[in-house]
């Protein structure tokens, strides 16, 4: 390092940066970004027109515009650009671009960790060009692009604070600039609108690609892509339960149902769901709150399950579920007819469903929320969320359109169908409660629902005639399933779809290679596990899980229990954070990684750094998961 003859024996850079901090604070507080005047030719027009638009008439009288000074020198962030990227073997690379005619001082470059979790080694700065300074003596300067490589000992993701100072050869010096960069996303603090966002390293993961599209793509293609993504999500366990809910509402609508009416009911449901999904998503992104987890509190889940039990009983014909009379009259006077209220209540159930049922995180959701939170493009993000929710709801509209046609109008059949949907409501209620209950209790609940199904099949709507053959077959299957569930509850099985898994395992000695998760709860646990993995040269997988997350359970069931996935993860240290409780420790873990919620799986290379571009969000089946592992291992 070449010496700087600092006046008091100190290096001036350190002292300068203290002033600079204050300067930047001042600049940050008082100025707002404004459109830059166009260069050269249009400068007169820009000078004349632009200030007038923002100035009050009074200001116009007392101020005059600085001539063409604005165009002589580049703003500091155009003179010097810096981007951070993850380099090979645990190094961060800082890519500096220096405009022609400008230079940075090598000795005034400071690179330090920006947070307590990041540990950096000594930066490797290239030699510069020697420049004679009349006061400080020979100085090393960088008049062109250069790369500084910094060893990253720890950080997830590493954040780097750098301070740099430079001048224009034509005679202007900028005060020291301080920037905080996060390594691993390939995106930096000052790439500006012209920078290729999501360029190198930034756009690998599905959510990052979607976020980049959302922030920069054409609106119609954004909406199309998010609608399509919603369609794909509609058939995941997060959205699927909405189909029996909506079908039940339509079936329970009564004898006046027409195809149009049932379609409009489904439109109400989908709109209620989509508007709530959009509003809750935008609000959580703006407030930084965990709306998703908030709606998984015990009393809300119990209340919602209770609502479905009440709906089921109404389907069984025990009573008519109606709004309170006072509300009914209000709606009656408002709409002239009483039946409008049905649409409102359907929309409300749709709204509640979106909050309580669809509590899963998927790549398009993460993309939309991060764009809202990070760029403030609320309308764009919210439109994308709305398109996503409409995509998820599109199959429901099909249900509504066909439901009115397929359902019988009246008669004994109608009674049976209504009761079957009542059983489906009971199933939804049991599914809601499953997240709160120990497995054996959930098994018994499901067994109870299956028993109700047997009863409906054999007894309801028969008018003394004995049950037909298919009814008997279905009832037999339901009864067998109920029996299996009871056995499963007793044997300690955990998956209601495979209640006899434990029982069957008694017979065979070769049990599948089950994945051994190391449970972590706190940041300290995580750091300890990461340190252990680093010592042993292991890669690390960290899975975020919650009991209320349907996709997480699906991942456990279909992906993590797959023997091929188990053997592919043999050399990994496999961690799991259960964030069901959503307490302070859980929130700290989620915040550290900027994770919106489960299911999210983070991957760390052997140097203990999270490769954010390989983060998985949402459900992935065993095949896709193994392909992801292979591409992660093939990466640098």
């Amino acid at each position: 390092m070449s010496t700087v003859r600092g006046p008091a024996g100190t290096t001036p850079a350190g002292r300068i940066s203290a002033v600079a901090g204050a300067l930047l604070l001042a600049a940050g507080l008082c100025s707002v970004p404004v459109a830059r005047a166009q260069p050269a030719a249009s400068s007169a027009a820009a000078t004349a027109a632009e200030p007038e638009a923002r100035r009050s008439p009074l200001e116009g009288l007392i101020k005059h515009r600085a001539s063409d000074e604005d165009e002589r020198f580049l703003p500091v962030d155009e003179a010097f650009r810096v981007e951070a990227a993850l380099g090979p073997t645990g190094r961060a690379e800082l890519h500096f671009q220096v405009a022609k005619g400008y230079y940075l001082y090598r000795d005034r470059l400071r690179i330090v960790p920006a947070d307590a979790n990041t540990v950096l080694g000594t930066p490797d700065m290239p030699a510069g060009v020697t420049h004679e300074d009349s006061y400080f003596g020979p100085q090393q300067i960088y008049p062109e692009a250069f790369v500084v490589s910094v060893p990253v000992t720890r950080g997830s993701p590493p954040t780097i604070k750098l301070t740099y100072q430079g001048c224009a050869e034509a005679g202007l010096c900028y005060p020291p600039q301080t920037r905080v960069l996060t390594v691993g996303r390939g995106l930096s603090g000052n790439t500006g609108a012209a920078g290729p966002a999501g360029g190198d390293g930034g756009g690998h993961s599905e959510q990052d690609k979607l976020a980049s599209l959302l922030a920069h793509g054409r609106l119609w293609s954004v909406l199309g892509v998010f609608f399509g993504a919603g369609l794909l999500l509609a058939f995941t366990p997060c959205v699927l339960p909405m189909i029996p809910i909506l079908s039940g509402i339509i079936a329970g609508d009564g004898p006046a149902t027409t195809p149009l009416r049932s379609f409009l009911l489904s439109v109400s449901y989908v709109l209620g769901m989509a508007v709530t999904y959009t509003a809750a998503g935008a609000a959580s992104a703006l407030l930084g709150a965990q709306v998703q987890a908030v709606f998984q509190q015990t009393w809300i889940v119990v209340l919602f399950a209770g609502l479905f039990v009440a709906l089921a009983f109404s389907m069984f014909g025990f009573y008519e579920l109606q709004m309170p009379a006072s509300l009914q009259t209000r709606f009656a006077s408002a709409s002239g007819r009483i039946r409008g209220g049905k649409f409102l209540s359907t929309a409300l159930i749709g709204a509640l469903s979106s909050l309580v049922v669809t509590a899963c995180v998927a790549p398009p959701l993460v993309a939309a929320l991060s764009v809202i939170a990070e760029t403030g493009q609320v309308a764009r993000g919210a439109s994308a969320l709305f398109a996503l929710a409409l995509g998820m709801g599109a199959p429901l509209l099909l249900v509504g359109a066909s439901g009115g046609r397929l359902l019988p109008k009246a008669g004994p059949w109608m009674v049976t169908v209504k009761c079957l949907f009542g059983v489906a409501f009971l199933g939804v209620a049991a599914w809601m409660l499953e997240r709160l209950l120990p497995p054996w209790a959930a098994f018994l609940l499901y067994a109870l629902v299956a028993a109700c199904l047997v009863y409906v099949l054999l007894r309801v709507g028969l008018r003394g005639v004995s049950a037909s053959g298919w009814r008997k077959v279905c009832a037999g299957i339901a009864a067998a399933y109920a029996g299996a569930l009871v056995v499963g509850a007793a044997s300690g099985a955990s998956d209601p779809l495979h209640p006899l898994a434990r029982t069957a395992a008694f017979g065979s000695t070769a049990t599948a290679a089950t994945l051994e998760f190391h449970r972590i709860k706190s940041l300290a646990d995580l750091d300890r596990e990461l340190a252990t993995a680093e010592r042993q040269g292991q890669r690390v997988m960290l899975d975020f899980y919650a009991d209320w997350c349907a996709s997480c359970k699906e991942m456990d069931r279909a992906t993590f229990s797959d023997p091929a996935v188990g053997s592919a993860l043999r050399d990994y240290r496999v961690l799991q954070a259960d964030v069901t409780a959503n307490d302070a420790a859980d929130q700290a873990l989620l915040r550290r990684f900027g994770i919106i919620g489960p299911p999210t799986t983070a991957f760390f290379s052997t140097d203990g750094l999270e490769r954010r571009d390989y983060r998985l969000v949402g459900f992935k089946d065993a095949v896709a998961f193994r392909a992801h592992l292979q591409s992660f291992e093939a990466a640098r």
Binding site: P33, D133, C167
Partner: protein, 218 residues
């Protein structure tokens, strides 16, 4: 209209209104500078270097190297060249010989060159001990920045010079290293304005025309 359609219409109108409102808001916020997709944005914004220049000289009081406070009003009635600089800024230091000459010329008897060092006082005192500066220097840190900002600098950079006429009006400001011809042209125009020979706006236009060709562009 059936109640179903009525509810549907009400719902759509509400959603449409909300979406339209949000877009109008976003458009207003982003038409100037579309937000880049960044993960962490801790940087100061990057606008053009100069905002509007005030009509009248701002008031500020700063200390001299000996620690005595001075208000800029002390030099009222004189032609004032306020030069913001720093010891670590090479182009600023290059200007000092020119400013020394201007301050020492007998012809410029009612011209005051006022140096405002935006720097640490110790560094400035060390510098003044080695380099002769023959005009008054005041020192400011944050308050020095505030004074420069009051003259219309938004994106702080040095050197920055403001010319104030004998009536306290800010005639012009200059960002970057001063060139002798430009400075002399500016001072001559201010003399003519203060003598009542020229309107101030006409003088500014003349200055812009005279200096346009000499300035480097990038």
């Amino acid at each position: 209209m059936s109640p179903a359609l009525r509810w549907l219409t009400v719902g759509l109108v509400i959603v449409g209104g909300a979406v339209t409102g949000a877009y109008v808001r976003d458009w207003q916020q982003h038409r100037a500078a579309p937000a880049p997709l960044v993960h962490e944005l801790k940087a100061a914004p990057a606008p053009g270097p100069l905002a509007e220049v005030p009509a009248r000289r701002p008031d500020f009081t700063l200390s001299d190297p000996a620690g005595h406070p001075h208000a800029v009003a002390e030099w009222d009635g004189r032609l004032l060249l306020v030069n913001f600089w720093a010891t670590w800024c090479a182009p600023c230091r290059r200007e000092i010989p020119l400013l020394n000459r201007l301050a020492g010329e007998p012809a410029a008897k009612d011209l005051t060159v006022l140096g405002v060092a935006v720097d640490f006082p110790d560094d400035v005192r060390q510098f003044l001990a080695k380099m002769p500066v023959r005009y008054p220097v005041l020192i400011g840190e944050q308050d020095g920045m505030d004074a420069a900002a009051a003259f219309g600098v938004r994106d702080m950079a040095f050197p920055f010079t403001a010319f104030v006429d004998r009536h306290g009006r800010v005639f012009s400001v200059h960002l970057g290293e001063l060139h002798e011809a430009d400075v002399r042209a500016t001072l001559a125009l201010i003399d003519r304005v203060d003598a009542g020979q020229l309107d101030i706006d006409a003088a500014r236009r003349e200055l812009a025309a005279a200096t346009a060709g000499t300035r480097p562009r990038f």
